[in-house]
Amino acid sequence: MTRPFKRRDFLFMGSALAGSLLLKSCGGEPSTTEASPGASPAATGDGIKVGILHSLSGTMAISEKSVVDAENLAIEEINAAGGVLGKQIVAITEDGNSDWPTFNEKAKKLIDQDKVVTVFGCWTSASRKAVLETFETKNHMLWYPVQYEGQECSKNVFYTGAAPNQQIEPSVDWLLEKYAGKPFFLVGSDYVFPRTANTIIKAQLAAKGGKVVGEDYIPLGNTEVTAIISKIKSAMPDGGVIYNSLNGDSNVAFFKQLQGAGLGPDKYPSMSVSIAEEEVKAIGVEYLKGHFAAWNYFQTVTTPASTKFVEAFKKKYGADRVVNDPMESAYIAVYIWKQAVEKAGTADDLEKVRMAALGQTFEAPQGLVTMENSHHLSKFVRIGEVGDDALFKIVFETKEAVKPLPWNQFVPETKGFSCDWSDPAKGGKFKAT
């Protein structure tokens, strides 16, 4: 059945078209041209193109958008200081839409069509795994800024977030010492990071005499946690430690209802690995006060670089914004890449840049970090307690940067393995002697 094209259709489609145009332009998303305001049109013409690949829509947009902000801040700072090799950096931002195949498509687009020299991107391990093959077959370069479960060491990825031994393991050690003799309950979202993290924690606790009395997983985005809370209560009637690797919205429900059920941090202290300053704001400080989180960087770190970073960020994005660990890692990634390009003298020869990146040091907000031969950063480990101001009071920090161990030494399958990309003979996974 065909219909003539009616006026109403025309009106409807016309306004729909106009509306979508408006939505797109007023959406406030960082568009390609906004990314490098320092660049004059002439310089843009022969600038150095880099890709930014994060979710600006969908579930993960909540976290990833602020990482894009941090990356744009670093690029803007570098451009204002004269750029790289005398050229301005031009950022091409793509939206991964919280959908892993989309991440892969957009990665291909950035590499093949836009001809970027490197990509800063991804948050979830699932999105990283989705683009990994593309970066490996095209022998390209990805900078991944988030703490993750380890057990991976690709030649084509630089991991500027923490490996498990730079976040999870020290925090478990700290808990074992502070709450000696208390049982542990592990709660996580149901996907690869929490499950791997909990495998590591269980192996570590077994080796060090800790006791796990329960383990539970919530589907991503689920907010019904009543059953888990009563299990925690019945498994640990006299109190104990909750190790929390929940991600996203479930955290809000978990802490709100934990307090409602009367499980306070005095008897049931919790250690979280996915709650940073932004999440504290979204959950509400009333529910989180006294709980702990483990990261490499908190906004309350007082190094000069940190003060500068926080000030610059607030100046650009508003005084009520906060910075967090993944944002700092993303900020570091841009600077280490810039240093590597300068050392290599080229941005286009990726192998030269990659080799130049190894051993680069950077006075980061968290302290002096080094890009190790394993493509991971050596980082400082910190534990913070949520205070009244919705920021973290740092209750523990390592004196020196902790070297990364991508292959976990507590898990039998990877025990004894390590990674060294400075030597092609060794590569991503070899048995250390």
Partner: protein
């Protein structure tokens, strides 16, 4: 005994959240037969309204900030109901009797609402507002001309680009001159925090277990809403009209019932209830642009299991699903089989939040094999309508 009581309470409290979230849908989908995929986003709007009301009351100090929740409930109802009416008048009413198109259209609306919450900023409001004012204003003026019918298409073709251009330029110029204060989104992609007032934060200690006040509050709220709906549908004139339109639209229209008005009111009430549900879930969970997505499947599940068109069915279904998912998820049955380690280990295997969800859905699939029309199927002439 206390374990049983605990289980019953927790099951009912899960059920109460489900029911409250599904109540609006039970009316919109159950009575009107409209598959409203944007129901979750109406819940989300309710939650955001709660956030806004909370922030308005916060600076007012003690007595006000403690009771903001009651104002938030009213505001959430009104906001969601208004959006619901807008949705019904502009989209749904053209699609009555075409469930597939309704499904797609309302799903589109749900995406629009999500993105709206993420990107609404002063710049956005000025841009869209200006466009609407210019375009619809111009069309209204031109439509007074006697030869409007003839030049209509031309007018539209000219006015759309002009309005877009003016709105874009204005919002961009304003954005560049006022910078961050003007372009920054109000809510943003990051979730916002809704904090329950102090008197709702603790819990009622009974023995060694504690019943959270928020849960008690939600159970009470659900009961109040149910009674309100029952009263409205059965004791008021508009309720009578809604029921008659549900049963036989043509006959009601013949008898002089303004069916269009009835549709709008029914939709508004269903949407308003979603707003109230949003206010309630904001006390328990997160408030972000995805909030609605977490509830949409569960709410449809409740309505379908209960039997479309029967409020009592939704009540029973919500209660049953709540108790079932609690009993499975918290491993309440396992310990009863201490003497049989094999059976006990089976129950333990299913006793995680993810597995409990799988089991509940599996049971629902089995249930629908035997009772495809739900717990309380519609009977009589309305079935085929």
């Amino acid at each position: 005994m206390s374990g049983l009581l605990d289980g019953l309470f927790n099951g009912i409290s899960i059920g109460a959240v489900l029911l409250l979230a599904a109540l609006g849908l039970a009316i919109v989908f159950g009575l009107m037969g409209v598959i409203n995929m944007a129901h979750g986003e109406l819940i989300m709007l309710g939650a955001y309204t709660t956030f806004v009301v909370q922030n308005i009351f916060k600076p007012l100090g003690a007595p006000w900030s403690d009771f903001y929740i009651f104002f938030a409930l009213v505001a959430a109802f009104i906001v969601a109901a208004l959006v619901g009416v807008l949705l019904e008048r502009t989209v749904v009413r053209y699609l009555y009797g075409r469930p597939l198109e309704t499904l797609l259209a309302t799903w589109g609306v749900s995406l629009i609402l999500q993105q709206f919450i993420r990107s609404v900023s002063p710049q956005f409001v000025v841009g869209v507002g200006l466009f609407c004012a210019l375009y619809f204003g111009a069309i209204a003026i031109i439509s007074r001309r006697p030869d409007f019918e003839r030049i209509r298409n031309w007018a539209i073709a000219i006015m759309v680009p002009i309005s877009v251009a003016i709105a874009l330029t204005a919002s961009n110029v304003l954005g560049q001159s006022f910078k961050l204060g003007f372009t920054r989104p109000w809510f943003g992609t990051q979730g916002v925090d809704v904090t329950a007032p102090k008197w709702l934060r603790g819990g009622l200690a009974i023995g060694d277990s504690q019943l959270p006040y928020t849960r008690l509050f939600i159970i009470a709220l659900t009961i109040v809403c149910l009674l309100g709906i029952y009263w409205f549908l059965n004791k008021t004139n508009w309720g009578l009209r809604i029921r008659s339109v549900t049963q036989n639209r043509t006959m009601s229209a013949c008898l002089g019932i303004p069916t269009q008005k009835v549709d709008a009111i029914t939709f508004a009430i269903g949407s308003g209830l979603a707003g109230i549900a949003g206010c309630a879930v904001a006390l328990l969970g997160s408030v972000s642009s995805n909030t609605g997505q977490a509830y949409i499947v569960d709410t449809f599940m409740v309505v379908v299991i209960g039997g479309v068109g029967k409020l009592i069915g939704s009540i029973m279904a919500a209660g049953a699903i709540g108790i079932l998912s609690y009993v499975i998820g918290s491993n309440a049955i396992g310990p009863l089989f201490d003497s049989m380690p094999f059976v006990k280990s089976i129950f333990e295997f299913f006793a995680t939040a993810s597995m409990a969800k799988v089991v509940v859905f599996a049971l629902i699939v089995v249930f629908l094999q035997f009772r495809p029309a739900g717990l309380f199927p519609q009977k009589g002439r309305t079935v085929e309508a």
